[in-house]
Chain length 335, copies 2
DNA sequence: GCAATCGATCGAATCGATTCGATCGAGCGC
DNA sequence: GCGCTCGATCGAATCGATTCGATCGATTGC
């Protein structure tokens, strides 16, 4: 009955008595309210925002960078009555190109975290399905909106800070460069080849200062243990670098832990810098020298963009500001 | 056209030539494949599993216990073409009882993490909507399926371990007891009143051994910083306890950090035990004495139960085993 | 008292895919 | 050559809520 619809929605003209009567008999019949599926079909909207996590979920969740952004996003979307559907990205290199959910699940908008390269199958699938998409920290591509930060300038500021302190032997620890997620030092040739946008930009920031890193060490994921492995590899030898610039705070904190493990003092024996500006329980607040990015804001900005995309508006890219925060993990090189 | 449906689904009898022809003209018309909303309505299934996180998302995500279970769940659900919709639970005490998503979003099954008390508005909403529900670590209630672990026995084992080592002054640091998320020591009277099931059971485990904790310290969330606050409060005084039993590893690791901060050696000056068996980057592997629970398994079990609920089967509760793992954070009390 | 107007209510069409039954044509056996 | 059978294709009904237009009744103004 159409009157029932009015009774439940509350909108439209309806006598209070009738409304009451409808709700009453609904209760008797054990009717639990309108079926969302019918509503969605009629409206042509599912009320669902697909969030594609560009990494194994367990890994992504272990990184506060992802979870803070996700939290900001969910917080913004909740009041709009929009839900977040978790869509695993392509995790293993041998897995199917895209998750079946991405092909078949209903979603009004998609948010792609850690968007990949030009030929990212995730993006092409979304484009084929005609789903408006916003990409976090990805490459500028036609038809999708990108939200990012000024990685390059931020990283250059960190590196310059180390140069100003007098460092000359600087190593850098990077995020993964591609789906292979190689671990270890990479050679010159690799640096010329394409790599994930975020890794590229943060690397370019270092190079912009004129620094030639003594080692570029790739990690398979932004996790403490990989930072620790990198730290042990880099700092275990006598001709170790005097400073290590890391592309994430988790990696940096791993390097700090490794340094302590090796009996090295930070920053007297080695300086360590990170990127992101997250709170780490095992380091004092503001201890780590890092580039702070507004993570929760980023989530909220994503939320606003989703809103605009749903309204059918054209949306401009956003680049959010970053700032260098000097802590106590960087200092002059040992004499 | 009904033939088009057959062409896309692939099921049913259809000549290869026709199929090809249909797909061809679909491409010309810019048709991107079947609309999920129509399919869902017809099938009466949304393919969505609502996961209600019983805490602010940012907090929940910072706890590996939640994320590992979630990861196990998503991993099991993915191949079934089921998606996970994140539904915020009731976060602030003054927020509306349940999130609007819980009222209106389409979901075939709900998973409630950290299910609350008897009168949990989340559970009653789900029951009213007739959505099959499985609760993680909640209270046994009619009509819902519960997946949990043997908290009580696990906690008793830890406490007994400390008793065997000779401790007599034992304090305990608890998870939040109710929505108020009070922080600080609680009095005897509070312990008699109802509290969240998981907190109650882990507390009962301690009491089962006959131990009367010198302090029961409640925290507002299972986070390192709250463990650290608790540690500072408990260990800052001269008549400090010789052992602290914590209801989670994150809390325990906070206590360890606080102890180190205060110049106390663990376990020589104070023993610390946790619960959950997660890997913490800032502690060596297996360093913390704790009760290990099978987190990823728990997620997979949840996945199986979701599957069974979708098939309309009656599902039995599951209690998963735990085991005490003695590390190096517990030892005999100081002489 | 009659007509016009306004508000409440109801019928019917719509969203898009699926699926059951019916129809149509071709191939095969007798 | 005729009839039967099987497979492919097509029409139509269905899932459930929403919404536009139409109808119905009552109230008010003249």
């Amino acid at each position: 009955m159409s009157t029932a619809s009015l009774a439940f929605s509350g909108a439209g003209p309806i006598a209070a008595a009738t409304r009451e009567r409808v709700l009453e008999s609904a209760r008797e019949l054990g009717y639990a309210g309108p079926n969302p599926l019918g509503r969605q079909l009629r409206r042509g909207r599912s009320g669902i925002v697909g969030v594609v996590i560009g990494d194994a979920l367990a890994r992504a969740f272990r990184d506060p960078v992802s979870t803070q952004v996700l939290d900001g996003l969910v917080g913004h979307l909740g009041p709009l009555d929009l839900g977040v559907l978790l869509v695993p990205g392509s995790a293993a290199p041998d897995a199917p190109a895209v998750d079946p959910l991405l092909e078949s699940a209903a979603m009004d908008v998609a948010v792609v975290m850690w968007g990949g390269n030009d030929d990212d199958p995730v993006l092409s699938t979304l484009q084929r399905r005609g789903i408006p998409t916003v990409v976090v920290e990805g490459r500028k591509l036609p038809g999708v909106c990108v939200v990012g930060i000024d990685d390059r300038t931020g990283m250059a500021a960190t590196t310059q800070h180390l140069l100003d302190l007098g460092h000359t032997r600087i190593a850098t620890v990077t995020l993964p460069m591609d789906r292979d997620r190689h671990e270890g030092p990479v050679d010159e040739a690799r640096l010329e080849r394409p790599m994930w946008e975020i890794t590229r930009r943060r690397l370019d920031g270092v190079l912009d200062t004129g620094v030639r890193p003594v080692v570029v060490y790739e990690t398979p994921a932004s996790l403490v243990e990989h930072g620790a492995s990198a730290g042990r590899a880099l700092l275990g030898e006598p001709d170790r670098p005097t400073a290590v610039v890391c592309q994430s705070d988790l990696l940096a904190s791993g390097v700090v832990l490794a340094a302590r493990e090796l009996g090295l003092r930070v920053p007297q024996d080695v300086s360590v810098a990170g990127f992101d500006g997250i709170e780490l329980p095992w380091l004092a607040p503001d201890e780590l020298t890092t580039v702070v990015q507004p993570l929760t804001d980023k989530g909220a900005t994503l939320g606003r963009i989703v809103e605009e995309l749903l309204a059918g508006e054209e949306v401009a890219d956003h680049e959010m500001p970053v700032s260098l925060r000097v802590g106590t993990t960087t200092g002059p090189p040992p004499a």
